[in-house]
């Protein structure tokens, strides 16, 4: 067992977990019933899906500058993805689009306070 092999193993494990998160996020996006719930599934892909894959890529690189660049990509993803998610959700909310609520997944009968 040398160090490079161990790094390779960790990085491949991270690649596979990240891929699983991306897959689960996409599956959730197809399966979840309405717009607002689908946003949550997309959030999985945004956070752990991309971050774990970036971390695995950082472990594969043999150069400090590449690691730093991947770190900055991860940071910018973390800072910008909630902003775009909020922009979509907020515009749907302001536009008068009602979410499905409760265990029975029904549209609310009375008008929601906006």
């Amino acid at each position: 067992m040398n160090g490079e092999l161990i790094l390779d193993l960790i990085s491949w494990a991270l690649f596979l977990t990240g891929g699983l998160f991306v897959f689960a996020g996409s599956l959730g996006m197809l399966r979840f019933p309405d717009f607002y719930t689908r946003i949550h599934a997309a959030g999985v892909t945004d956070t752990f899906g991309s971050e774990l894959i970036l971390l695995a890529m950082a472990l594969q690189s043999d150069d400090f500058t590449t690691v730093i660049k991947l770190f900055f990509i991860a940071l910018f993803l973390l800072l910008t993805s909630p902003v775009s998610t909020h922009a979509i959700a907020h515009s749907a909310w302001v536009g008068g689009f009602n979410p499905l609520l409760g265990k029975k997944l029904e549209y609310p009968e009375e008008e929601l306070p906006r």
């Binding site: 998160f21 689960a24 996020g25 599956l27 959730g28 399966r31 979840f32 019933p33 309405d34 607002y36 719930t37 946003i39 949550h40 599934a41 959030g43 999985v44 945004d46 956070t47 752990f48 400090f64 500058t65 730093i68 660049k69 973390l78 800072l79 993805s81 909630p82 902003v83 998610t85 909020h86 959700a89 907020h90 909310w93 302001v94 979410p99 499905l100 609520l101 409760g102 265990k103 997944l105 929601l112 906006r114």
Partner: protein, 189 residues
């Protein structure tokens, strides 16, 4: 003297140091020893800071020094919270029958500054299973995927942590809240 300099040009110095560090990180080792390139790097950093200062961007929004150093520990804590929430949402996406119970909740936001409110709302959105939908005066409207994810206690704890990193008055507020909670715990049993 040091305090005076920090008061007059604290943001400028912070930005120069950050940009310099960024240049060092991105340019790589072979550039550091090359004096011509190092001078060019320093010159570009100073030019950027001067232009930003001229454009009036070096205010509390452009260079938010007040959230440091608390934001670093907070981001570490937030990563763990995101991990936990990720597992819950993934389990919901993969289970054979859907068992969702979406809910809208109002979460109180006590942050005094704009950047504190932004950090709090972004943290809520970044955590899978909760999305901040609307901002009101003193509260945030949150859409949660399930009943358990909409638990207000968890989001209130997050709000308190954001208050604790948000400037001196936020720190005082969070300390006072912590004392109150400790007193309540003493009274309760």
């Amino acid at each position: 003297m040091v305090r005076f300099i920090l008061k007059v040009a604290g943001r400028q110095i912070a930005l120069i140091m950050t940009l310099g560090l960024l240049w060092l990180c991105l340019s790589g080792e072979e550039h550091w020893a090359n004096s011509t390139l190092a001078v060019f790097g320093l010159a570009s950093v100073l030019l950027c800071v001067w232009l930003a200062d001229r454009a009036g961007m070096l205010d509390r929004e452009g260079v938010p020094t007040r959230i440091f150093p608390g934001i670093l520990g907070y981001m570490f804590w937030l990563t763990i919270e995101i991990g936990k929430a990720n597992l819950i949402v993934v389990a919901h996406a993969l289970r054979p029958g859907l068992k969702l119970s979406p809910k809208m909740v109002e979460v109180p936001a006590h942050q005094t500054s704009d950047i504190g409110k932004t950090i709090f709302a972004n943290s809520i959105t970044l955590t899978p299973g909760t999305v901040s939908v609307d901002l009101h005066e003193g509260s945030i409207l949150v859409h949660a995927l399930t009943e358990e994810l909409s638990d207000p206690a968890g989001m209130n704890l997050m709000g308190h942590k954001v208050c604790a990193l948000d400037g001196p008055e936020g720190r005082d507020w969070a300390k006072q809240k912590q004392l109150e909670r400790a007193q309540q715990r003493q009274v309760a049993p």
